[in-house]
């Protein structure tokens, strides 16, 4: 997992690994993080997530080795 910008600062790290059950979805990962409490509560329930560089939905299935990025509101330009 990757955390960027305000999420990285709030979570306190930019990268971490997590083990999930087989057939876990993006929504399961978010629930898992929220259950850890503490700094992960900064991630909103509707947090935008990219899986392997593609914006993804809560129902997106996760596979072993996927790169999941948590995307704060963007401000390029």
């Amino acid at each position: 997992m990757l955390f960027f910008a305000s999420y990285r600062e709030a979570v306190g790290l930019g990268r971490m690994n997590v083990r999930l059950p087989i057939e876990a979805k993006v929504s399961d990962l978010i629930s898992e993080l929220h259950s850890k409490g503490e700094n992960f509560t900064c991630l909103p329930d509707s947090v935008v997530v990219a899986v392997n560089h593609v914006y993804s939905e809560p129902a997106t299935m996760l596979n072993d080795g996927d790169e999941v990025a948590f995307i704060p509101p963007v401000a390029g330009g």
């Binding site: 910008a5 509101p73 963007v74 330009g77």
Partner: protein, 149 residues
């Protein structure tokens, strides 16, 4: 012949403009976004852009491909800078050329608006009074309108 890049070095707008144009084109457009010295009424002394670089490159390519198919020109060059920038530095440059001006105007505008909506890039502003803060941005995939900048 589209060109897309996320760079850390300064952007020279004329270099971007030179990447487009052809003998069949009658319109060359160059949009240049620069760092301004204020935001929401507060004086700004500089900014830092951060990107999810691998994804930003692919999203920018996707946006340019959409502009190509919608506006019928493949002569497009788009560069976004990341890292520490000071007032007046170029943060983004978009060059488009096309047979007629409308295609270039529309394609350039489309690319800039989509960058604002979904390019995974973030901006932290450093204010003269010593404060710093991430710019309130747009949530990718949401229908919300962003304030024009």
């Amino acid at each position: 012949m589209s060109f897309v890049a996320i760079v850390r070095q300064p952007i020279n707008p004329s270099d971007i403009l030179e990447r487009v144009g052809s003998e069949e084109d009658g319109a060359n457009i160059l949009f240049v976004g620069v760092v301004r010295n204020h935001n929401d009424g507060f004086p700004v002394k500089g900014v830092r852009y951060e990107a999810y670089e691998k994804m930003a490159k692919s999203v920018l390519e996707e946006i340019v491909m959409e502009a190509r198919s919608q506006y019928g020109t493949d002569r497009i060059a788009t560069v976004h800078r990341i890292g520490d920038l000071v007032i007046g530095d170029v943060s983004v440059a978009i060059a488009v050329s096309s047979h007629h001006r409308e295609q270039s105007f529309l394609a350039s505008r489309y690319i800039m608006e989509e960058i604002k909506k979904r390019l995974p890039v973030w901006k932290k502003e450093y204010y003269l009074d010593g404060r710093e803060d991430w710019t309130q941005g747009a949530t990718p995939g949401s229908p919300q309108l962003t304030e024009p900048e």
